[in-house]
Symmetry: C2
């Protein structure tokens, strides 16, 4: 039978309440006493019972991660999860992962979810992070949440990275190689990622004095198939682009597939770069030039911040974690035009 708080109290010669104070980091315990109690905790190998704690304190010690179902298999989500778990480690909090279908009325579904699991805090990933109704409902329910890469100002705590700047960086890289006819395949409508990455693309062109050519931008939806379709359209043009920048890596793979089918060499005939830095960018040949999105760090900080906001409900934070442009073999100087 594991030790109980009562056993620790007896061992240290204090009341259970005082032990409880130490466990919960309450300030009004003398340092000497605190040390003695901590020693007793270690001596008895005591670990508080989460159920009892939760029941008495009306908390669940659960942080829920709400992500999009179709993304379930994505390494983006996986990396985020790794970060979330890392942040929970060493805290009494556990992570609950919850894939939510975008199609359904989230703001309604959330009530059921909250009733069942009673999470103390939520972390929202796009597209849910952009769902204004959902955030509003959470505010009504008075549940702390943080968002990842949200477009909405409404979110008090948001963690992301400077996607616009990162996109500009990678396009500038293409420009520095000598490319002038650079195409872009966008992300899915409604995602901030679509807007920011497109803006960055335009920023870089503007900075280099290259006129923005609308016909070089085609709509994608983050899928391999849409990347392939986009490449088809672009490569069928009379004056095909010499480089294609896609809003994520999967679409870049689609572009590479289309090039492969046409017998175009990468980077000889076409430079390709992606975005996100998913594992595939390293596995594919040639290696894909991309921006590594710091998913782990983002997931980790999203949890840390939202846990902090439980103690300090007024907390506001818009953190931007550093990213990294990864230059690989899929980009090179264009052949003479």
């Amino acid at each position: 039978m594991p030790a109980r708080i009562e056993d620790v109290a007896a061992h240290a010669g204090v009341s259970t309440k005082t032990v409880s104070r130490v466990l919960n980091g309450h300030p009004s315990v003398r340092a000497t006493l605190r040390t003695r109690i901590e020693a007793s905790i270690r001596a008895l190998n005591y670990v508080p019972n989460p159920s009892a704690r939760g029941l008495a304190g009306n908390r669940s010690y659960l942080v829920a991660l709400l992500y999009d179902n179709p993304m379930a298999g994505s390494s983006y989500t996986m990396e985020l999860i790794v970060g979330v778990l890392q942040a929970c480690k060493g805290t009494p909090y556990n992570a609950v992962l919850h894939p939510f279908d975008t199609a359904d009325d989230l703001a309604a579904q959330i009530d059921g979810f909250v009733a069942t699991h009673r999470p103390d805090a939520l972390v929202l990933v796009p597209p849910h992070a952009n769902n204004a109704k959902l955030l509003q409902r959470l505010d009504e329910l008075d549940i702390r949440y943080s968002t990842v890469s949200s477009k909405l100002r409404q979110s008090r705590i948001d963690i992301g990275f400077d996607e616009r700047r990162a996109a500009a960086d990678i396009v500038e890289h293409l420009i520095s190689l000598g490319h002038r006819r650079i195409a872009h395949i966008t992300g899915l409508h409604g995602h901030g990622a679509r807007t920011w990455r497109l803006s960055g693309y335009r920023d870089a062109l503007r900075k280099a004095g290259i006129a923005y050519d609308e016909s070089l931008v085609v709509e994608g939806d983050f899928t391999f198939a849409s990347g392939m379709a986009g490449a088809k359209a672009l490569l069928d043009r009379r004056r095909a682009p010499t480089a294609i920048f896609t809003a994520n890596d999967d679409m870049a793979c689609g572009v590479m597939r289309e090039a492969y089918e046409r017998g175009l060499a990468i980077p000889g005939d076409l430079s390709v770069c992606g975005f996100d830095g998913t594992p595939v960018s390293q596995l594919i040949s040639p290696g894909l030039t991309t921006v590594r999105q710091p998913c782990r760090e983002i997931g980790c900080q999203a949890v840390e911040s939202v846990l902090q906001s439980i103690r300090d409900p007024a907390l506001r934070q818009q953190a931007r974690v550093p990213y990294e442009v990864q230059l690989r073999a899929s980009t090179a100087a264009p052949r003479k035009p």
Copy 2:
């Protein structure tokens, strides 16, 4: 304030204990009464408080998934997680994900983990599923567990698929295309996957009357780099193989990279096939012939079975879920030798 069991009891005109019996599926409640109580539960939108339940019943309603840290980013783990979550859905159980470093002494670490989270059941993934000491410790602690693809007979509940047969299938495919000089890059020592996939490779050769050539088998460790290194060694031979079968997809990508660097065409100069059916097999060009491992189904069933074993501790199960050979463009008939 959410409804309590007491409210449901009052609404249905019964005692709280009777409601509790309905909630926990106790048999001794008349069908008519059960129906009435279930109606009250729905009417009041009642959801039992997990903390209270856990405290009173000395349970945590937690299923822990123990996986290997370095695999954190792998889509194998991600898919498994998806299956695990799916199985928990609709049950009062939650999943706790726990990456464990292989290096450390697991059997010792597990005590700390169990003390902290008190999971009612565990699901073990290789390599932990092959750790005899760990399983023994869990037996001592009397904690139910299930394993995924374990080599050990010790495990009462194991879910996997017929890896040996699947490997044989894919090698037979290569043979049917006309390949005779087929190489294999193995998985990491200690994993059942290494042994079974190698055995399947040998089975297929034997069945086709092709002599086993030890020099065509090189050691790998499931990483991209080891696939590349293996390919280097194999392609430097005087009589290079016309096809390479690797024990997972990442290594197949390594082989493809090495072929790319040497200017070898796939599948023209070299056929490549992998194993696992990770997302990269579809994203890479040409598409990679592989075996789709039914990770989700495995994760799902591993949880379902272990939850069942909580009620029925004598339960034994060795399930083999169906797999699927996915033929893509990375394999074709060899050129005239």
